[in-house]
């Protein structure tokens, strides 16, 4: 039984190999996988301007394709991620970045939720203290 199984496996492997001779290996669309990975990571945080609610990575709009091409070329020319993003922001504004910059204007956005958490926690603690301490709570506020 075991031997039969091995045989089947061998035949299968052989078929697979012969198949592989006819069939080519699929080629990546990109020439340089390292640059492609950087492009991918970067373009996932950039907004497609035409369709507006898709990332540059996932959009198939022509402008998105052009921009990806442009980014690819710039990366190939040795620019850093930051330089490329600055290049895009200079042309399209902060609108292209899905990760808004942290500055005075966006402080509330970035830190507001944590502020709610801290204030909420503090208020809850105080109210709980009041609750735990006072036996005649029922009439206290009524």
């Amino acid at each position: 039984m075991k031997r039969f199984f091995m045989l089947v496996l061998l035949v299968f492997t052989f078929l697979q190999m012969s198949n592989a001779v006819v069939a080519g290996e699929a080629k990546p669309l990109a020439e340089d996988p390292v640059i492609e990975a950087r492009l991918k990571a970067m373009s996932q945080e950039l907004r497609c301007l035409v369709c507006q609610n898709t990332t540059l990575a996932d959009s198939s709009a022509p402008l998105a394709e052009d921009l990806r091409k442009e980014i690819r070329e710039q990366l190939r020319a040795g620019k850093t991620d930051k330089e490329v993003i600055d290049y895009l922001v200079a042309r399209y504004g902060d609108f292209v970045r899905y990760r808004p910059p942290v500055n005075n204007e966006t402080a509330l956005l970035w830190f507001g939720p944590f502020l709610i958490l801290i204030i909420g926690g503090f208020v809850l603690y105080r109210v709980l203290k009041k609750h735990a301490g006072n036996d005649e709570i029922q009439g206290e506020d009524a």
């Binding site: 301007l49 035409v50 507006q52 022509p62 402008l63 052009d66 921009l67 442009e70 922001v89 200079a90 042309r91 399209y92 504004g93 609108f95």
Partner: protein, 177 residues
């Protein structure tokens, strides 16, 4: 009353939000203002449509006030804008240059032939490279560039008669001074 004060906080927050929402009704979230306004227009060289072999250099425009209208034969809104551009060329004598964006020369020429040519000259940007430099994200778009080569205004979407009269014409008058 002071007791009530803290319970009015949710209402106050809500009303502030309503204020912003109301304002938001009159804003267009699709319009992305260009950070290039007030900055020097990117310099480019491009082939001139229908003049084979000739190249236009935008640096040559120093000292002139001009409009750069980005358009394409495949763009629907450009057809709506076309009569306004014709009007501008005829009556207002505005120096409008076309940038034919991601298009074929044959298609672009066919359109200009059929509908009239409002441009002093049209340059071609087959690859869309100049478009990227100018931050074009939809056609038509129009840039007003002053004598020093600084972008003073960007119109996203077609120029309408109203925009022409209320924004572009007054601006040009001021810039020509």
């Amino acid at each position: 009353m002071s007791r009530m004060a803290k319970f009015l906080i949710p209402l106050a927050l809500f009303l502030i939000a309503v204020g912003f929402l109301f304002k938001g009704l009159f804003l267009d979230p699709h319009e992305v203002p260009s950070p290039l306004v007030g900055k020097p227009a990117p310099v480019f060289q491009a082939p001139i449509l229908s003049e084979a072999g000739k190249t236009f250099n935008s640096a040559d425009m120093k000292g002139k006030v001009w409009l750069l209208n980005v358009w394409a034969s495949w763009c629907g809104a450009c057809k709506d804008e076309h009569p306004v551009l014709m009007e501008m060329a005829k009556t207002n004598k505005i120096a409008t240059y076309g940038l034919d964006y991601k298009d074929t020369d044959a298609d672009a020429q066919a359109v200009l032939l059929a509908q009239g040519n409002p441009y002093k000259a049209t340059f071609t940007d087959v690859e869309g490279k100049i478009g990227i430099d100018y931050g074009v994200y939809g056609v038509p778009e129009t840039y007003v560039i002053d004598k020093a080569g600084v972008i003073r205004y960007k119109q996203i979407g077609p120029i309408t008669d109203e925009i022409l009269l209320t924004k572009i014409v007054p601006l040009l008058k001021e810039l020509e001074k």
